[in-house]
C-alpha cells in the first residue's frame, strides 16, 4: 500500500539557552558553589559594572573613585575571594580554574576591563600561589583576602610586573632589564636586596599595595633571574607612573611604574638557597611565569567568547525591531515581525557569531576543567617523584619522558579492549601517567584558547558590530558591542600576544603524547559522526586527519631550496599550522558540549522542556562551525603542502615535463583523443600556453589530494544546518529588554 511520507519538521530553539543548560554544557551542573558564583558575578557585572559603563565610566584613563567602587563590589560579592582557599578567607575548596573562568565569563559579558581588573589581582598573586614559599603564601593570600564580617581591614591589591619599557621585555620575556643586587649581607643574617625595575602597561598599578616583579641578577652573588615581591611601604621609590592612554579596557588601571626599592631576600618568590656565598633563587622568572600563564591565559580566552555570546540577544532585538514604527511596517507584516531577520544574510552572519561564541566557550571551559584536573595530579606526581628521590630537573625530565612513552602506549590501545585489561588498568591507575597525559593536553589547550578565542573572536566581534549597522559603533549600542570589539584586541595582546601562543603551540602540538591523543580523537569523532551525523563530526575527523598528515609531512620535508620546513625559525610554517589546530580543537569541544547537553538534559526538568529544539540548534551550530573549521584547515594545509614547492616555469626544466605539439600529434595515432586531455603542450614554434608555467605536479601528495576531495564532500549538508539554525534564530523568544543598562 502506498503511503505519503510527511516530512517531520525538526523542533526549533524556543528561548535563549538557560543557566541550567549552560551548567550541563560546561559541566558544573553538580557544583552549586560555582552556580552561586555565577549569580554573584552576574549581579556585579549587570549591576554596578554596567551602570558605570553606561554612565561613561570608560571615558577616562585615570583611576577614578567610581572605578575603585567596583573593587569593593568584587570583594563584597565574593569575586575577590574566589582565588583563595577556605582557610584563607575563600569559599571554594580545591582547584579554581573553572571558577575563575566563570567569573571572567560573567564580567566580560558586560565589560572586559572589569574582568581584567578582577583577574589582574589573581595574576599578581599567582606567582606566589604557584611557586611561593608557605610563608609567602600565607602572608599574601591572607592580606589579599577580603575582610570577613566584623573585620575592619582593607584588602591588599596586587600587580604583576613583567613587561618593561622598550627595548626590553615584551613578547621576548628573556630580555629582562630589571635588576636585583645585594645591598647588604651581614654574616648569618638575611641579605637585603636593592631592586631596580621599570614596568610598562602594568595592570592594577594605580592602586596596588604589592607587586610581583620579574628581575635579573645584577650581582655576581646572585644567580640568574627570579621574581620578587615588592611592597608599597618598602624603603625607596614606589612610583606608579602615569596612566596608560588605553583605547580599551578603561575600567582597569594600567600604567608604567618605576621601582627602586630595598627588600629582604625572603621576598624572592619560592625562596632561595645559599651556596658558596651565592644566592640561588629556587625558581628563575621563566619557571614562575610559565606556571602562572599556563593557567591565567585560559580565562582571557573565555572573556572574548563571553562577549560573542553576549552579542546574540542585542543583535536579535535590533534586527527584529529595526522597522517597527514605520508607516509601512504594520503589526503582522513581515517587516514588522521579522525586521532585518527577513534577510538571509543577516541571520546567517548571526549564526556564525553565535557558533564562534559556542566553540570558544567550549574550548575555554574545557581548558579550565583540564587544569582543575591537572592541579591535584601535578602535586601527586611531585610527591611521587620526591618519594623516589628524584630532585634534579634532569632526572625528573627523564622520568617524565619515560612516563610519556608508556602513556602513549595507553592511548594507542585499541578502543575495544575490556575495561579490566591488565595493561590498561595498570596504566590508568598510575598517577604519573595520568599527569603526563593531561599535562600534554593542557600544554595545547591553554595557548589554543588564548590564541583562537581572542584572535578569531576579535574578528567575529567585528562581525557582530556590523550586524548593528551604525548603531554598532556608537556608545549607545545595547550590549556595548563596539567596546567589546576593540577590547578583544587587548585580550589577544596582553598575557602574551598571538605570536607567543603560536610559538608555544608549535612545540607542544608535536609532542608524541599529544599526537597519540589527537589520533584517538579522530576515531572518537568518526564514532560520534555515525551516531550524530548532524554535528559535522565526520568533516571534522577528515580535517583532523588532514592536519596530522600535513604536520608529519612538513616535519620531514624541505622547501624548494632544501631548507627544513618544520623548525622554530620557520614561523611561516609552524604558526599557520598552530592556527589550524585551534580551529579543530574548538570545534571538537563544541561537539562534545552539545552531546553532553543532549545526553544529560533529559534528567533536569528545567532543561528537559524544549531540549529537543535546543539540542537541534546546538547540533546545527556544531555543523556550521565544523564546516568552517574544516575549510580553514584545508586552506592552510594546502598552502603549506604545496606552497614551498617552486612552480615549474617556462624554462628548460619546465619544458621537459611538457609535450611538444609534434609529439602529441604522433601519439594521437596510438592514443586517440590524447590531445583533448588538459596537458601542457609546447607549440612547434616554441610558444607555450598563457599561464604561470606548466601545471605543478603533486608528487607524494596524492594522499593529501584525496583527503581534500573527501573533505569537500564531507561538507554535504552543512549549509542546510545553517539554514535551520537561521530559521531558529528568527523564531526564538527573547526577553523584552536587555537585563543591563546600555
Amino acid at each position: 500500500m502506498a503511503s505519503t511520507a510527511t516530512p517531520i519538521k525538526p523542533e526549533l530553539l524556543r528561548t535563549l539557552p538557560s543557566d541550567a543548560a549552560r551548567q550541563i554544557q560546561w559541566r558544573f551542573a553538580d557544583r552549586y558553589d560555582l552556580q552561586m558564583l555565577v549569580q554573584s558575578a552576574r549581579s556585579v557585572a549587570r549591576g554596578p559594572v554596567a551602570r558605570l559603563v553606561a554612565n561613561g565610566g570608560r571615558n577616562s584613563h585615570e583611576w577614578t573613585p567610581a572605578k575603585a567602587e567596583l573593587l569593593k563590589a568584587f570583594d563584597e560579592s565574593g569575586i575577590t575571594a574566589v582565588f583563595m582557599d577556605p582557610e584563607q578567607g575563600g569559599f571554594i575548596a580545591g582547584p579554581k580554574n573553572l571558577a575563575l573562568a566563570l567569573v571572567a565569563f560573567e564580567l566580560a559579558w558586560v565589560d572586559g576591563g572589569a574582568a581584567t581588573a578582577s583577574l589582574a589581582g589573581c595574576l599578581a598573586l599567582a606567582p606566589i600561589h604557584e611557586r611561593g614559599t608557605p610563608e609567602q603564601h600565607t602572608k599574601y593570600m591572607g592580606l589579599a583576602a577580603p575582610p570577613q564580617a566584623g573585620e575592619d581591614r582593607k584588602p591588599w591589591r596586587g600587580s604583576f610586573c613583567l613587561t618593561e619599557p622598550i627595548p626590553y621585555v615584551g613578547v621576548d620575556t628573556g630580555m629582562l632589564n630589571g635588576k636585583i643586587r645585594i645591598a647588604e649581607w651581614k654574616e648569618g643574617e638575611e641579605p637585603t636586596l636593592q631592586v631596580e625595575k621599570r614596568g610598562r602597561f602594568i595592570t592594577n598599578i594605580g592602586f596596588a599595595n604589592f607587586v610581583t616583579a620579574a628581575v635579573d641578577s645584577g650581582d655576581e652573588r646572585i644567580k640568574g633571574s627570579c621574581m620578587v615581591i615588592l611592597e608599597e611601604g618598602d624603603p625607596g621609590t614606589f612610583d606608579r607612573g602615569t596612566p596608560t592612554r588605553k583605547l580599551v579596557h578603561q575600567l582597569s588601571s594600567t600604567g608604567d611604574p618605576i621601582f627602586s626599592l630595598c627588600i629582604p631576600a625572603s621576598r624572592i618568590v619560592g625562596g632561595y638557597d645559599v651556596k658558596d656565598g651565592v644566592i640561588l633563587p629556587r625558581y628563575n622568572h621563566s619557571e614562575v611565569i610559565e606556571a602562572v600563564f599556563r593557567r591565567t591565559r585560559v580565562t582571557v580566552g573565555v572573556m572574548t567568547a563571553a562577549k560573542l555570546l553576549s552579542a546574540v540577544e542585542p543583535v536579535i532585538r535590533y534586527q527584529r525591531g529595526r522597522f517597527r514604527g514605520a508607516e509601512t511596517a504594520t503589526p503582522g507584516s513581515v517587516r514588522y515581525e521579522l525586521g532585518l531577520q527577513a534577510r538571509e544574510d543577516a541571520l546567517h552572519r548571526l549564526v556564525d557569531v553565535w557558533a564562534t561564541g559556542e566553540a570558544g566557550a567550549a574550548l575555554g571551559f574545557a581548558a579550565a576543567r583540564a587544569f582543575d584536573e591537572l592541579d591535584p595530579l601535578e602535586r601527586e606526581a611531585d610527591k611521587l617523584l620526591a618519594a623516589q628521590g628524584v630532585t634534579s630537573a634532569r632526572a625528573r625530565a627523564k622520568l617524565q619522558r619515560e612516563a610519556s612513552e608508556r602513556a602513549a602506549d595507553l592511548v594507542r590501545l585499541p578502543a575495544g579492549l575490556p575495561a579490566n585489561d591488565a595493561k590498561r588498568a595498570q596504566l590508568e591507575s598510575d598517577p604519573l601517567l595520568r599527569f603526563v597525559l593531561l599535562d600534554s593536553l593542557a600544554d595545547v589547550l591553554c595557548p589554543a584558547t588564548k590564541l583562537w578565542n581572542t584572535g578569531w573572536g576579535a574578528q567575529m566581534m567585528r562581525e557582530a558590530v556590523s550586524l548593528m549597522g551604525g548603531y554598532g559603533i556608537t556608545e549607545d549600542c545595547p550590549g556595548f558591542l563596539g567596546n567589546k570589539w576593540m577590547d578583544a584586541q587587548l585580550e589577544a595582546t596582553y598575557e602574551g600576544p598571538e605570536a607567543v601562543q603560536r610559538r608555544q603551540l608549535s612545540i607542544t602540538m608535536t609532542n608524541p603524547l599529544f599526537r597519540a591523543q589527537f589520533q584517538a580523537w579522530i576515531r572518537e569523532m568518526r564514532g560520534i559522526a555515525s551516531e550524530r551525523p548532524g554535528t559535522g563530526a565526520c568533516a571534522l575527523a577528515t580535517a583532523m586527519g588532514m592536519w596530522l598528515w600535513t604536520l608529519e609531512r612538513l616535519q620531514h620535508s624541505t622547501d624548494a631550496d632544501g631548507g627544513r620546513l618544520y623548525q622554530s625559525a620557520r614561523q611561516g610554517v609552524t604558526f599557520p599550522l598552530a592556527d589550524a589546530l585551534c580551529w579543530l580543537l574548538a570545534a571538537r569541544c563544541q561537539i562534545l558540549d552539545a552531546i553532553e547537553l543532549e545526553q544529560r538534559g533529559p534528567s533536569d526538568p528545567a532543561v528537559a522542556e524544549g531540549l529537543a529544539g535546543l539540542a537541534n540548534f546546538m547540533t546545527d551550530l556544531c555543523h556550521v562551525q565544523s564546516a568552517r573549521a574544516s575549510g580553514e584547515v584545508a586552506r592552510i594545509c594546502a598552502e603549506l603542502v604545496f606552497g614551498y614547492n617552486r612552480h615549474p616555469a617556462w624554462d628548460e626544466a619546465g619544458y621537459r615535463g611538457c609535450y611538444q605539439q609534434d609529439e602529441l600529434d604522433s601519439l594521437e595515432g596510438i592514443i586517440p583523443g590524447i590531445g583533448s586531455y588538459g596537458l601542457d603542450v609546447i607549440g612547434n614554434d616554441g610558444s607555450h600556453p598563457k599561464k604561470a608555467g606548466p601545471c605543478a605536479k603533486c608528487h607524494g601528495a596524492e594522499q593529501f589530494l584525496s583527503l581534500q576531495t573527501k573533505l569537500s564532500t564531507c561538507l554535504t549538508g552543512c549549509r542546510l544546518s545553517k539554514d535551520r539554525a537561521a530559521e531558529a534564530i528568527s523564531k526564538l523568544m527573547i526577553p523584552e529588554a536587555l537585563d543591563y543598562p546600555a
Binding site: 552549586y32 552556580q35 564580617a149 528545567a606 529588554a737
Partner: protein
C-alpha cells in the same frame, strides 16, 4: 521573648519580569509559553518577606527562618543559587506547580499542610510571612487562606513594617490608600503577615552564607516530595495578556525622583 521566633516564609518562583509572558492554552488549562525554560526569580513580594524575616531573626536571638516553597524543583534550585547567598534560612521545598494559573485554594492547602509538617516548629513562636500578593498572579488570597487553615487569627496584609515592642507585642504598619498606613498592635505569635515591600534593601550577596545554606538546601531539594496540585474549583474561560502595549525600559541607574518624574510625564502625555 527569650527563645526567639519561628518564622516561616512562604514564597516561590515567578518568571523573570523582563521575559515575554505570553499565555497559551494547554490540555490542562492556561499556562505561560515556555515557562519552564524562562529564567525565574523569587517572587518579589515573597522576597521582601524573606528579607524582613531574616532581619527580624537576626535581631532576636534563638530565631529561625524557614522558606516554604511550592514550585517546580528544578526551577527552585536555580533560584536558590541567588537567594541562598542573601540570607540564612532552611528551605522546605515541595515539587509542584508555581503557575500563576494555579488555584490559590489548592496552593494554600499544600502550604499549610507543609508548614504543619515542619519538625520542631513551635506554634507559640510561629510567625508566618509571605507576600500580600504574587507577581505571577496578584490574587492576594493565598496567604489569607494559609492563615485560615493554620487557624491563625491575627493576620495582616500589605505590611510595610513590623516592630517588636518592649513588651513583646508587635506594632504593624499595613498599607491603606493614598500612601498611608494603618497602625495596629498585635500581642505576639502566632500571627501571619502578608508583606508589601517593607523597607529593607535587597541584602548583598554573601557567598559564605550561600555555602552554609546550601548544605541543607541541596539535600532538601533532593528529598522534596512531588505533589501535583489539584485543579480545585477554578477554571479559566480565557487568558490574554493585558491590552495596553508594554513599554519596558531597564532603568537601574536613575534616582527615585527621576523615575517618578518620568512616570508623571508619561501619565500626563
Amino acid at each position: 521573648m527569650t527563645d526567639g521566633y519561628h518564622i516561616v516564609v512562604c514564597g516561590s518562583v515567578v518568571p523573570d519580569p523582563l521575559q515575554t509572558l505570553e499565555p497559551i492554552e494547554t490540555p490542562t488549562g492556561p499556562a505561560l509559553k515556555n515557562e519552564m525554560m524562562l529564567p525565574a526569580v523569587l517572587d518579589p513580594w515573597a522576597a521582601h518577606a524573606l528579607y524582613e524575616a531574616a532581619n527580624l531573626a537576626s535581631k532576636v536571638t534563638g530565631s529561625k527562618v524557614w522558606l516554604v516553597s511550592v514550585g517546580p524543583k528544578a526551577k527552585l534550585q536555580q533560584v536558590m543559587m541567588t537567594i541562598a547567598q542573601r540570607v540564612s534560612f532552611e528551605l522546605v521545598p515541595v515539587d509542584s506547580s508555581a503557575s500563576g494559573f494555579a488555584d490559590a485554594h489548592s496552593t494554600a492547602a499544600l502550604l499549610a499542610e507543609t508548614i504543619q509538617s515542619i519538625a520542631g516548629l513551635d506554634r507559640s513562636r510561629l510567625l508566618v510571612f509571605g507576600g500580600w500578593e504574587s507577581a505571577s498572579r496578584g490574587a492576594g488570597a493565598t496567604m489569607q487562606l494559609v492563615g485560615e487553615r493554620l487557624e491563625i487569627l491575627d493576620q495582616f496584609q500589605g505590611v510595610d513594617q513590623l516592630s517588636v515592642q518592649a513588651d513583646g507585642s508587635f506594632e504593624v504598619l499595613e498599607r491603606i490608600e493614598a500612601g498611608r498606613h494603618q497602625v495596629s498592635v498585635c500581642q505576639g505569635p502566632p500571627a501571619l503577615f502578608g508583606w508589601a515591600t517593607g523597607n529593607l534593601p535587597e541584602p548583598r550577596n554573601n557567598p559564605q552564607v550561600g555555602m552554609a545554606n546550601m548544605r541543607t538546601v541541596m539535600p532538601a531539594l533532593q528529598r522534596a516530595k512531588s505533589e501535583p496540585l489539584p485543579a480545585g474549583g477554578l477554571h479559566f474561560l480565557s487568558a490574554t495578556p493585558p491590552k495596553q502595549q508594554r513599554q519596558t525600559r531597564v532603568v537601574k541607574d536613575l534616582s527615585p525622583e527621576q523615575i517618578a518624574q518620568e512616570i508623571a510625564e508619561w501619565i500626563g502625555k
